[in-house]
């Protein structure tokens, strides 16, 4: 009886998944699991970790017989791996510049599409003990601030926002990626860090995200593109299509991304 119950529940789930796939249609809805199978390898920016892990599971449920494997890392490191011949089907980056290096190297199939945007917030320890309310506060002498290095997307966005606001900040460290900047806040080593809204949201148990209006001037576009030497071309196309579906968009929005 128990096993029958489980089987019924599984059947119900499968049906629900099938219905949701066909129902949330639109022109770009994934066309069932027709012809798509095997492993789909997605190289994705570190800031997509939480959202893409969920989307990967949903995609596998919508396309039985597929398995999504992620390689999460800094966008530039991923771009280097791809141009050096790493076998990947899809590349989702945190900045157009990193995707451009892949396109320029002739490794992309088709044109990159911006699928989400991300905005900076000020990550502060839970409860905001130092009372940081504006971007201008970050220049206070009693604060230790972490910012990403200019060479990585979150650092470029931070510089843009700070320059636009005319705020002079002397950070104690220029971190190599956004997660490293965030962990310095989590560990209490700095009082504030400029990170993406999505990262602050993913770490909501330890940090608060303080929104600031100047971040609107430094919005980061996330492009995604299928790769020319993709081992699983059909899988790549299906994954790109799935990213445009409403269940995927719901996951991305819940993670704090803006969808265009």
């Amino acid at each position: 009886m128990g096993s029958r119950g489980i089987r019924a529940a599984l059947a119900g789930l499968a049906l629900a998944a099938a219905v949701s796939v066909t129902a949330c249609g639109g022109g770009q809805a994934p066309a069932g699991s027709g012809g798509v199978s095997g492993e789909v390898t997605v190289f994705a920016a570190a800031s997509l970790t939480e959202a893409f892990t969920k989307i990967g599971k949903d995609f596998e449920a919508a396309h039985p017989g597929t398995k999504v494997t992620f390689n999460f890392a800094g966008s530039s490191a991923l771009a280097t791996q791809i141009t050096q011949g790493a076998p990947a089907d899809v590349f989702a980056a945190a900045s157009p510049a990193t995707v451009k290096t892949v396109v320029d190297a002739g490794d992309a199939a088709g044109t990159p599409v911006v699928f989400v945007r991300n905005q900076l917030v000020i990550a502060v320890p839970k409860g905001n003990p130092k009372g940081i309310a504006t971007l201008g506060n970050l220049s206070r002498d009693d604060l230790k601030v972490a910012v990403c290095a200019e060479q990585v997307p979150c650092g470029a966005a931070a510089k843009k926002a700070l320059d636009a606001a005319g705020v002079e900040v002397t950070p104690v460290t220029l971190e190599q990626d956004v997660k490293a900047a965030l962990s310095k806040v989590k560990l209490g080593e700095v009082d504030a860090a400029l990170v993406y809204r999505t990262d602050a949201k993913a770490a909501a148990a330890d940090v608060d995200g303080v929104e600031f209006p100047e971040s609107a001037g430094a919005i980061n576009d996330y492009p995604v593109v299928a790769l020319k030497d993709a081992p699983n071309k059909a899988g790549a196309e299906a994954f790109l299509a799935y990213l445009q579906s409403s269940p995927a968009k719901a996951v991305l929005t819940a993670a704090g991304f803006q969808t265009p």
């Binding site: 530039s76 280097t80 990585v152 209490g188």
Partner: protein, 279 residues
């Protein structure tokens, strides 16, 4: 060189001078050659991609010089720190029987096994503002190690010290203890024996350990960027500069690593010549 050694050993009567004593054993030479190739080929690949013309231009950049100076300074300070604490530790492990010696010996290898980034986090949890010791340092002296040059030295020493301890302990265990016993029977105290007999005996081991330790400290990346952060002139060592250059410009990153490589090899070779020329 191996031929010479073989001949010496043979002359000393330890090897039978029978057939083929001059022929190199293929079963050793083949893997040895492969090993050398395996270690050298990646370097060759790097050299082939190096934009040599840009080298002087990068060398003149103040930011690069600052990173290079900081790297050499912190690696040297870390090595001194490791020698001061590591040689006595190696002596303890090699010469003194105490309960838990095996455990202590195993614990020393922890920094070797631990991913350096995790080592950096561990250091933060100990010396950070909220850390076990760090919170006390902060409250009592208003001093914190993270994000300082001293923090870089601490991170490098943590990762590099096992190399020194293991090398020196090996040398101590290989050294003949009868010299120390003779010194003791002639009335030398333990400190005098250590200073006048033990240290000179294992000096080559200490030198080898120090070189390994310095080289490891010079190349340190993970623990440094995690514990000390990355700020030009204060905590940005060459490996950190290389990593960030890699984000935007592969060629620049290659040039930077090459500069670090050339400088460190030059220093090591010149030091070795000095030691070897005065036997």
């Amino acid at each position: 060189m191996p031929v010479d050694e073989l001949q010496q050993a043979g002359a000393a009567g330890r090897l039978p001078r029978r057939r083929g004593h001059r022929r190199l054993p293929v079963f050793l030479i083949l893997p040895a050659g492969l090993g050398l190739t395996f270690l050298v080929l990646p370097l060759v690949a790097l050299l082939l991609r190096t934009p040599w013309r840009e080298l002087p231009q990068h060398l003149a950049e103040p930011a690069i010089l600052a990173a290079l100076r900081l790297s050499l300074l912190t690696a040297s300070l870390a090595t001194v720190f490791c020698i001061l604490l590591g040689v006595p530790l190696a002596w303890l492990l090699a010469r003194v029987e105490f309960p838990g010696r095996r455990l202590a010996r195993a614990l020393i290898t922890v920094p070797l096994v631990l991913p350096p980034v995790v080592g950096g986090v561990a250091l933060l949890l100990l010396f950070g503002r909220r850390g076990l010791i760090g919170s006390w340092l902060d409250e009592t002296f208003g001093f914190t190690l993270p994000f300082t040059t001293a923090g870089v030295v601490v991170a490098e020493a943590f990762v590099a010290m096992p190399f020194l301890v293991i090398a020196v302990e090996g040398a101590l265990r290989g050294a003949d203890t009868r010299y120390e016993e003779a010194a003791a029977t002639l009335g030398a105290g333990r400190w005098t024996t250590f200073r006048r007999v033990t240290l000179p005996l294992v000096a080559p081991g200490i030198a080898a350990g120090a070189v390994l330790c310095w080289a490891r400290a010079l190349g340190e990346f993970g623990a440094t960027i995690t514990f000390a952060g990355n700020f030009p002139g204060r905590t940005q060592t060459m490996p950190l500069a290389v990593y960030l250059a890699l984000e935007t410009d592969l060629e620049a990153a290659i040039v930077l690593s090459l500069i670090l490589l050339v400088v460190s090899v030059t220093i090591l070779v010149s030091l070795r010549d000095r030691w070897i020329s005065s036997p």
